[in-house]
Every structure is written in C-alpha cells, then in structure tokens.
C-alpha cells in the first residue's frame, strides 16, 4: 500500500492548495517554507515545542469515555478527546506555540493573527506574551461585538486588537486585513495563521502542529480499549482540529474519518457555512485553491453559523483532497442540532463544550444510534464553551 504523502513540494494536494498570492508575498512565503523545512525535523526545536505542550499547555489531553451520554443516546460508545482542557481552552494553542517558536528563530519580533471567535487570537496573544513578542490581532468588527470577553482577554495579554470594517466584517475579512499587514511589515513580522488554510506552507505546517492530537489519541485508545475507534468525528470550519486528529489516522484502515460542517439555518436555506456538504465549486481564496462558497461571478458569499469558529466560506485544501479521494466523509449539522448537543453534554457529562465542537457531538449522537453498543466513536472535543455562554444565554432570552 502506498502511504499517504501530501502535499507535494509546492503545497498541492492534488488540484487543491498551492501558493496563490500577490508577488509582494512570494519571497516571505519562500523564507517561511525554507525555515519550516529546516526546523520541522530539528530535534532541538521539537524538544522545545514538546516541552511547552507538556508544561505550558498541559498535554497530553486525556480521552474520556462519555458513558452517560452514550447510554442516553443508545448505541455506539462515545469517547471525547479533551482539547477543551488545554490552556486557553481549545486546540488552537498547539499551533500558535509551534509558529511562535518558529517566529522567534526567524528573528521576527512581531506576530499578527486573524481571529473569528477569538480563540486563535487569544492563543496567539498568550504565546506572544510568553515569548515577549509584540502581537496584533485582526478581528471583524461584527465578531468584536459578538465576542467581547475574548477581546478583553487578548488585551489583558498585551495584544492590540484591530477591528476590521471591510467586507462582511467577519473572519474572512480579518484574514484579508492580516495579509495586508503582513505584505507591508514582512521584514519584522510573522503571520500566525490559525487554521489549515492560507498559502503553502501554512496548511501543512498547521496540520503538523495540530497532529499531536491524533498522535496522542492513537496511543491513548490502545491503552484504554486496546484498539482504534471505528469512527473519528470532528467539526470543520477551516478544519485545523479535524486535520490534527485525522492526519495520523489517514493510513490506519477501518477508521472512518468524518468532518462536520456548519449547516447553519439548514442546507436548503443557503444560510450555512458548509462548502463541502453543499458541493460548492472549486475556487481560489486566501492563497489556496479549495472548495468555496461563491456566486456566479466568483465573489465570495456570506456564510452563517451560530458558531463564529465555523463561519468561513472555504475549507482547508487537504480536506477538499480527502473528500475527493474519499478518505474522509463530510456532513453538516444545523444551529439547532448543535445547540441540542451542547445542552446534552452539559447535563449528562458535566462538560460545557464549545459551539464548534457541539457540531461534532451532534453528528456523533446521530451516528451512534445506528451503531452497535460495542462500536466506538471518538469525538474531538476541540474547545470548551465558556466563551459561548453569552450566545447561548441570548438564544434563551436570558440577560447575564
């Protein structure tokens, strides 16, 4: 069997990925590509990364058998990979530590980031504070309003938060603005992208830093139950937590990999953020070729999800590839289904999940009902839901 070996030297996953950027960024990406190649297998770099993951983040994150949830659902056993227990509350920090260590080695005193829900912004501000780097976070002005606690957290950590007023004033526009900053300040600035999108080498690099999730899970499942799960379920916006847990399993046979997109108000309404499930056409945005929600003129259309972290019109190019080669399956869960799963986990297990992760939970519940009791589903619980309590309260017409 030929082992999975993607992307190619120029960052292509089949027809997806690549480096679709303005000439002004080509040299900076080349520098990053060369430096990442140099350090990705460097024992000293990897040791420093591992040290921080253990002592600063608190890894390995445990796997937890959600027994009461499994019993309530009736069917397969649901296990949770507890990324919600990481420092800063989500998987995002696995990647920001890696990239910030690289920034430090490249001699860049300033880091920038884009953020939607604010988790990646907080994770970036956190490592910047820890390493003494200047930090600027771009955030759509709509998201600044929706995610006030995270904005304050970033400021407490010493970061400057810049509200972005252009376009739809959400995540994609924050990414555009961060790119503009990077083009202008490339000599002293490292751009820490938060997901497996962007131009090469970002999709590969972010995947590699997040792969610690799947690497740990493989060992932990053997220890806990003596075998690998029948299916792994993870939510997909850009797709970094999913890629992190999928990647070490790509060559493991008989483990289904299932990515869960945001169906928003329902696929039939068009108000969603699920380009893979909707069979959106291929396009180019933010430096890579992928499946993309767009109109007939090739303009990007506005997305909808209750979860800001999934509210993105594209998807990481490796997910597009995994869909095409049929190694992973992609499905979508509506706002309402995700909310039901959110409450379910709170009440049955005493865990408040992020709204993003609630999409994965909702699909795992659906699936579990169709499976035998001795089958296993591993859900990547990518983040905790503390950041979402305002959104949830508002839906219930409760003022906090």
């Amino acid at each position: 069997m030929q082992l999975y070996d993607m992307p190619d030297a120029r960052g292509h996953f089949g027809q997806f990925g690549g480096t679709f950027v303005a000439e002004t960024l080509v040299e900076a990406l080349e520098e990053l590509r060369v430096m990442y190649e140099k350090y990705r297998h460097d024992p000293e770099f990897l040791a420093e990364y591992a040290y921080d993951l253990k002592h600063f983040v608190g890894r390995p994150s445990p796997i937890y058998h959600a027994k009461r949830l499994s019993d309530k659902v009736g069917g397969a056993q649901i296990y949770l990979k507890r990324e919600d227990l990481n420092h800063t509350g989500a998987h995002k920090i696995n990647n920001t530590i890696g990239q910030a260590l690289l920034a430090k080695r490249m001699g860049k005193p300033r880091v920038i980031a884009e953020t939607g829900a604010g988790q990646h912004g907080v994770a970036t501000a956190t490592v910047a504070a820890r390493l003494g780097l200047e930090c600027v976070v771009y955030m759509g002005s709509e998201d600044v309003k929706r995610q006030a606690p995270n904005v304050f957290r970033m400021k407490l950590l010493g970061a400057t938060v810049v509200p972005v007023e252009s376009g739809s004033k959400t995540l994609k526009d924050a990414l555009n603005e961060a790119m503009r900053d990077w083009v202008t300040n490339v000599h002293n600035t490292f751009y820490i992208i938060g997901t497996v999108a962007g131009p090469h080498p970002y999709p590969m690099m972010v995947r590699d830093f997040q792969a610690v999730i799947g690497i740990e899970a493989k060992e932990q499942m053997m220890e806990m139950v003596g075998r690998q799960p029948d299916a792994i379920v993870a939510c997909v916006g850009g797709g970094s937590n999913a890629m992190g847990i999928f990647y070490p399993y790509i060559d493991v046979p008989n483990v289904r990999l299932i990515g869960v997109e945001a169906a928003g108000l329902g696929m039939e309404t068009g108000q969603h953020a699920a380009p893979l499930t909707a069979n959106s056409p291929v396009g180019v945005l933010h430096g890579n070729r992928t499946y993309l929600m767009q109109d007939a003129d090739g303009n990007i259309i506005e997305t909808h999800s209750i979860s800001a972290g999934l509210d993105y019109p594209g998807v990481g190019p490796e997910h597009a590839w995994l869909k095409d080669i049929k190694r992973a399956e992609y499905v979508a869960i509506t706002d309402d289904e995700a909310m039901a799963a959110f409450h379910n986990l709170c009440r049955t297990e005493g865990i408040i999940p992020a709204l993003e992760s609630s999409h994965a939970l909702a699909y795992a519940e659906k699936m579990a009902r169709t499976m035998r009791k001795d089958e296993i589903i591993l859900v990547n619980l990518s983040g905790r839901g503390d950041k979402d309590i305002n959104t949830v309260a508002k839906l219930a017409n409760i003022t906090l």
Binding site: A22, G167, L292, G298
Partner: protein, 266 residues
Amino acid sequence: MSRIQSVFATLKQQGKTALIPYITAGDPHPKHTVNLLHTLVKHGADMIELGVPFSDPMADGPIIQRASERALAHKVGLTAVLAMVKEFRQTNQTTPIILMGYANPIEAIGAIAFADRAKAADVDGVITVDYPPEECGEFVKELRARDIDPVFLLSPTTEPKRIDLIVNQASGFVYYVSLKGVTGAANLDIVEVANRVASIRQQTSLPIGVGFGIRDAATAKATAAIADAVVVGSRMVQVIEASTDENLLSNVAKLMDELKTAVDAA
C-alpha cells in the same frame, strides 16, 4: 503584434512614456464606466487598467477596497465588466484595455471560457494579482493563444532568478510594484525604484511599467523618467470617490491633464 506592444513601440519612437490610469469597473456606478474610459483616453491615457471588482481584494488598500465595494453593491462582476469593454470598443478600437483583478472570478468560469470571453470583448491584457507564474501555466497559454498579453507584477522583494521566471511568462509589459505593501500606501523612494528598474532591464527587453505610490504630477514625472509606463491607481480612485455625478468626468479629466503634462515633460 498585440495592441499593447504596438502602443509601446510607437511611444518608444516618439521618446515618450505611457500613462496608464486605473479605475475599478462599476465605480462609482456602472452607468459611468464607459464614459470614464472615453474621458481617460481623451485626456491622455495610452492604455487603461480596468479593475474587476472582487469581494476579497487582499492586495488592495482601503481606497481600492471601497471602489470594489461600491461596484459590487451594483452587482458588477466579471460578466458585466466584459460587457463594458465591448461597449467601449464600439467607438474605440485603439486604446489597450488591461483587466486587473483576482483569480477567483476567472476560476469561476474557467481559464478557457475566460480567455474566449475576454477575446470576444477585445481585451488586450490581463493582470491577475494572485496568480503567480507557478500556478497559472495553463491560463497563460490560453491567453497567449488568443494574443492577449499576460502581465505580471514584480515586487521589490522579487529575486533575480524569479524575475527570469516571470519575464519568460509575461508579454506586453511587466509591472514593477514600487512599494512593499498594499495599493495606496505610503511614499515612493524614487532612487530605489530607479535602481530596481535598471536591474530588471538587464533581464528583459519587455517594457516596464511602474505603479503603487504615484499620486501627483511630481511623482508621475519622476517615475516617467525611469519607466516605460506610469500607472496611477489609488489617486485616480480617490478623485472618483470624492466626486458627484455632475463633476465626476471633469474632475477625472483635470487629474489626467496634470499627470499627462508631467509624464510628457519627463
């Protein structure tokens, strides 16, 4: 010889530098675009860069972003832009039109269909900001098969080896982006630009246009002395943004007259 090549050949004989204004199609309103194109020509444009509005113009500063947003508010996409070029061509068959935009509108219809439709509209050149040469071999082939010039950008950070790669794919001219950063940013370092242009000339016989940071008669004149073409974008769009329906054409004409005088005096 393409229309772009013949304009450069003629100007060279006359010892002149080309003036290339940029406007975004559909800005401030689609009803003005064809009139604006004719006004630009009447007031000294040797060629025109016509921006194709895009929802996510990552390489542009706030001025051209807003132009894109104004045009998109009137649903001006690639199809509408090509129709405008066609209309312009009914009374002008001589001034080259170079489309400037992003990859995705082209991806949406496909390279072959785009090249066919651009040819049918009598477009002369295409600049695709986020199609570096490594990623658009097929696209370039389709354009060149139809005598449409693929125009590429060179930046202050482009290494000599890469300049070779780019000029080998380009035709018509190459466009030196004279600033690090987005469109409409900061000031122009003319000595630095002169050095870069001189070194690019050693690697190609293609004409060299210079843009980004040219905002008045003085910078236009200084640039014209070293380049084969002077591109004025954000300044032009700024004047359009500040105009009313009534004074739009006269304001644009006034700026063009200033720039033309400066470029010709270089």
